[in-house]
């Protein structure tokens, strides 16, 4: 055998092991990534820490307890303890992934067990969602070519504005949708256009839709994002991969189908029945353009917390529609805003779905306009324009920031406990465990999960007349624990006839709070009164 005159590329043993990435390669890779991203990581840690502190301080007593968080926590608790989707008959009010997530988080961390109050655990879950949202928001901002400064601004606008701070503390499904949507945007805009990233984008979109079905409204925005970011060379496969993972959301209707509850029919709940009620028959809130509408009231309510980010966000959204890099996010915001104009039912917390994108767009538009390189390349007319934008921004910031600071300090500062929280403490101290109580949603999980009442004896007020199973079971009512306005709203007699009838034969035994919108009275119902099914 002769020796080869041409030396083959000799492979050393260490080179060969590159075929199998070992621990050393992983460490090298990590070191390289750290070198490249350490500044971002440090900024992110600081921003997240600040956001976390502002969010967490005082979240136990502010904002006031409302009904939806109680409902979702009761369903999360039911998932953890009974493997059910609701302590009552699940009626497809929302897709269940949101409270399944909370339930799983509790299972992994003993969430309901760790806290004195179930609501505190809900608050903690929202804090986690907020922090994850902040991280994702920063990454999305960087992905859309924001500099580190503007990415930080985007996160701070989202984390520190008093409106978002208030609403993101409530245990709402929408607060869990935000991280899913941010993840979907992040993965759909990857620079390498990796199929795996698109697969995750589809999965995240499915996650959002299965957390709250209203996320489906953002589909046009993802159409724009995919159109912009999918490469022609791999278009078919990418779309198929997105469709594959996104179609996992079909498990929700499949669940209904398996239960025989997909289509409306007599004697059972159904997904489509509830959906058609939600879409067509629910009391419409009216269009925001109608000054007398409920939607306008909601809007005015949101503006009392903070108007700066909302108006700036709308302005940035309009500009963003014209900027290629921001268009997808701007369309996403437009989708979420469009709900206010349809005239249909607008949820109280719809603003939650607007704020992260507004924060992103405001920072994004400023990042594109206020850039030294743009300033240097521009003629005088544009420089004046840029100067004007800078001035308006500075003036806006100078006005808004002190307001935000005062509002945030007040939100973080000490508050008296919400009346429903006080009522919870009173009930657990004074009411024997065998008593039948009709309670506000927020109390159910507290009393059942934390205070040892049996689920059958604690009835959420709106189930009393809407759930046939509850109604059939009802033999007596001993206590009513409800905010006063439940009896006084014009619709009360129609909505809660049994509770209103019971109160007429009851005596108040405890009263909490002074504000008529939140004050709670505990009533002892006469033992002589017997509820009539159906009120």
């Amino acid at each position: 055998m002769t020796t080869a005159p041409v030396e083959l590329a000799r492979v050393t043993a260490s080179d060969r092991s590159a075929a199998a990435p070992g621990a050393r390669q992983a460490a090298q890779w990590a070191a390289l990534r750290w070198q490249r991203y350490r500044l971002d990581a440090l900024i992110l840690m600081a921003v997240v820490a600040l956001s976390g502190v502002v969010h967490a301080r005082g979240m136990a007593d502010y904002p006031n307890w409302v009904d939806d968080p109680g409902t979702y926590l009761s369903q999360a608790w039911s998932f953890q303890h009974d493997g059910a989707l609701s302590p009552y008959t699940y009626f497809y009010d929302h897709a269940p992934l949101g409270w399944i997530t909370i339930g799983l988080y509790s299972m992994l961390t003993n969430g309901f067990g760790r806290h004195a109050l179930a609501m505190d655990f809900g608050n903690e879950a929202m804090l986690m969602a907020k922090l994850v949202g902040c991280v994702l928001l920063y990454l999305v901002a960087r992905r859309l070519d924001f500099g580190r400064v503007w990415a930080t601004v985007a996160v701070l606008l989202f984390a520190l504005n008093p409106l978002a701070l208030t609403y993101s503390r409530w245990t709402y499904l929408d607060n869990l949708v935000t991280p899913w949507l941010l993840l979907a945007v992040l993965m759909a805009t990857g620079r390498r256009k990796h199929l795996g990233a698109f697969a995750v984008a589809g999965l995240a979109f499915a996650g959002a839709a299965m957390t709250k079905e209203t996320a489906l409204l953002t589909a046009p925005a993802f159409a724009v994002l995919f159109w912009q970011h999918i490469d022609r060379r791999t278009r078919g496969k990418t779309l198929a991969v997105v469709a594959t993972t996104a179609s996992l959301m079909l498990l929700y209707p499949a669940y209904a189908l398996l239960k025989g509850e997909l289509f409306a029919g007599p004697g059972h709940n159904s997904l489509l029945g509830t959906a058609s009620w939600q879409l067509a028959h629910r009391t419409p809130s009216g269009s925001i353009l109608d000054p007398a509408s409920v939607t306008r009231d909601l809007w005015q309510g949101w503006l009392t917390y903070d108007s700066w980010l909302i108006w700036a966000g709308i302005g940035a959204g309009i500009i963003g529609l014209g900027r290629r890099r921001l268009r997808g996010v701007a369309v996403l915001l437009a989708c979420q805003i469009s709900v206010l104009f349809t005239g249909g039912y607008v949820p109280f917390m719809q603003i939650v779905n607007l704020l992260p994108w507004m924060a992103l767009l405001v920072a994004g538009v400023l990042a594109q306009v206020l850039r030294p390189s743009v300033w240097l390349r521009s003629g005088w007319v544009r420089r004046i324009g840029i100067g004007a934008v800078a001035l308006v921004t500075a003036a806006g910031a100078a006005t808004a920031l002190p307001h935000w600071y005062r509002a945030d300090v007040s939100i973080m500062g000490p508050h008296t406990a919400p009346p429903l929280k006080q009522a919870t403490a009173w009930v657990s101290d004074h009411v024997p465990r065998d008593q039948v109580m009709v309670v506000h949603d927020a109390l159910w999980t507290e009393l059942v999960a934390k205070q040892g009442f049996t689920p059958d004896n604690v009835i959420i007020v709106y189930k009393l007349d809407s759930d046939p199973a509850v109604n059939a079971r009802l033999k007596r009512i001993d206590f009513l624990v409800l905010p006063d306005y439940y009896y006084t709203t014009p619709a009360a007699a129609g909505q809660y006839p049994t509770a209103v009838a019971a109160r007429d034969r009851a005596v108040p035994v405890a009263h909490f709070g002074t504000d008529p919108t939140s004050a709670v009275t505990v009533y002892r119902v006469s033992s002589a009164w017997v509820p009539r099914p159906g009120g």
């Binding site: 080869a4 199998a20 990796h194 795996g196």
Partner: protein, 522 residues
């Protein structure tokens, strides 16, 4: 498996094992369905990932086409084992003497003892091109097999003292692209790989060229058969039937319906295998090689011989698969390149039965490689796990497709908990989208190989081929599942005949010459 069972005992064991496997679902239905569903979901997800790997980013999807070979400097030796290949060898050797590479020689190994026709062709070429072709006599052993032929060629090459840097393997019907050797030469020098695997592609996804026709035509034969079955005796054939039978269009249509479903799936399988799966496995360092268009550097051949004492394992049904695993154990990288114009074209097996036999042989080979246990010496745990997965993949995949609907039906009929039923739907969902991806790939396959088939209207992928792929997916996997069961039975019984897949030359009949001879433009 010390003492092989007889055939009947082996079937008994196989069906007994399958029956035993049915026991858990009967005893613990919910748990079993859950486990099956989770396993199926994992397999269908992995299948998806494996076959999309080659397209994971737009850059990767076009990377191979961007290779521009630098001037060739290596000495190439091509081994070509031929046995009873008189029909195709001449055209193969004609191509072999026109390859564009400065320094190569083809060693044709022919079992001359009972094959004078093939030998005669090879001798003719050797006389005409003494620098390029050399005939190697088959050793005097009772059996005739490809590994023995290749080893003999290797022995004689080493003994001759001639210079060589790379050896490649070709089959008798393989017509290499004229620039293939230059590309391999370039990759050997620039990537540091010990093995370079080029793409092999089945191209006759339609059946018109396979040459199997009933002499009278299908309709006439069917009419006769019907008459016999109904007891009508000899019935005169209506002339209309014969006329329809003879139209090429009808024959084409019938052929596509009759066997297009598995041929298209088979071609597609090769396309996905060489464009995507092999690349993932090369990157992970666990790779079963193909049987031809594969090239080994001298350094690797030395290491291989040091490690196994031979080159090609003469007792293994899939010696190429084994070499791939040994390469990973020895730490040699494998470079896979898939350029449609440079692929080696092959044909699908002539009939479905022959296809199943081929698969049985491969799976038996994989079982053999698995039990030999070379893979247990792979350096990392993840590689060993991947090796199990790769060797078992054919079994897993076939059964996952066949079992997916069964799991759903089980879950629904047994009133399994809703969560379990939901999970059992996931593999079906992923499988459904996998069919869509198959259709997209079929289009890619058509586009990639359309230039090669330029001017041949018939080789275009048509609607009926897409329909075949979509509807044939399940049946194709069913055929694989049947092969898997059969392979297990034959392994248990120790039966190892059916060594060779017969070649009819369908791909050679394709008029590919003008395009293949055209130099690749960078």
């Amino acid at each position: 498996m010390n003492r092989p069972l007889n055939s009947r005992q082996a079937w008994f064991v196989v069906f007994g094992g399958l029956a035993l496997l049915c026991l858990p679902p009967v005893l613990w239905p919910d748990t079993s369905i859950l486990l099956i569903a989770v396993a199926l979901a994992a397999i269908s997800g992995t299948t998806l990932a494996f076959q999309l790997y080659g397209w994971r980013t737009p850059e990767h999807s076009v990377a191979d086409g961007a290779v521009v070979p630098s001037p060739a400097t290596l000495r190439m030796a091509i081994f070509l084992a031929a046995r009873k290949e008189a029909t195709v060898l001449a055209s193969t050797l004609q191509r072999m003497v026109t390859l564009r590479h400065p320094s190569y020689r083809v060693y044709v190994v022919i079992d001359h003892r009972d094959d004078p026709e093939t030998l005669e062709i090879a001798r003719r070429f050797e006389a005409e091109h003494p620098q390029l072709i050399r005939v190697v006599a088959y050793p005097d052993v009772p059996t005739s097999s490809k590994p023995i032929a290749l080893n003999e060629a290797m022995r004689q090459l080493v003994a001759s003292g001639e210079r060589w840097d790379v050896v490649g393997v070709a089959d008798a019907e393989d017509r290499f692209h004229v620039d293939l050797l230059a590309t391999v030469d370039h990759l050997c020098r620039t990537t540091g790989a010990g093995i370079v695997q080029g793409a092999v592609q089945l191209v006759n996804f339609e059946t018109t060229t396979s040459g199997h026709h009933v002499p009278d035509g299908y309709l006439v034969a069917f009419h006769r058969w019907l008459g016999r079955v109904l007891g009508l005796g000899a019935v005169a054939t209506p002339p209309g039937l014969r006329r329809i039978d003879r139209t090429p269009r009808f024959r084409r249509w019938l052929g596509r319906i009759g066997s297009g479903w598995w041929r298209a799936s088979n071609c597609l399988e090769y396309f996905k295998w060489f464009t995507s799966r092999l690349k993932l496995q090369a990157a992970a360092g666990v790779i079963p090689l193909g049987g031809n268009t594969v090239f080994f550097t001298r350094e690797f051949m030395h290491d291989l011989h040091d490690y196994t004492g031979t080159w090609w394992d003469e007792d293994c049904l899939t010696e190429d698969c084994k070499i791939g695993i040994v390469a990973s154990v020895l730490g040699h990288r494998v470079e896979v390149f898939s350029i449609p114009t440079m692929a080696t074209y092959e044909e699908t097996p002539a009939t479905l039965t022959k296809f199943i036999r081929q698969r049985v042989r491969w799976m038996q080979g994989f079982i053999q490689v698995f039990f030999e246990g070379t893979w247990t010496k792979l350096p990392t745990l993840s590689q060993r796990l991947l090796a199990v997965f790769v060797l078992g993949f054919q079994f897993f995949q076939a059964f996952s497709t066949v079992l997916a609907p069964v799991a759903v039906v089980l879950a629904l009929t047994h009133k399994a908990p809703t969560a379990v039923a939901l999970i059992s739907l996931v593999p079906l969902l992923v499988g459904g989208w996998n069919v869509v991806i198959d259709l997209i790939m079929m289009r890619d396959f058509g586009l990639a190989y359309a230039p090669a088939a330029a001017g041949r209207r018939r080789t275009r992928v048509r609607l009926i081929d897409y329909v075949g792929v979509a509807l044939g997916t399940f049946l194709f996997q069913l055929a694989l599942a049947v092969s898997a069961v059969w392979a297990v039975q034959r392994s248990l019984a120790g039966i190892t005949n059916w060594v060779k897949t017969e070649h009819l030359g369908a791909h050679v009949q394709l008029d590919l010459e003008p395009e293949l001879a055209r130099p690749r433009t960078a």
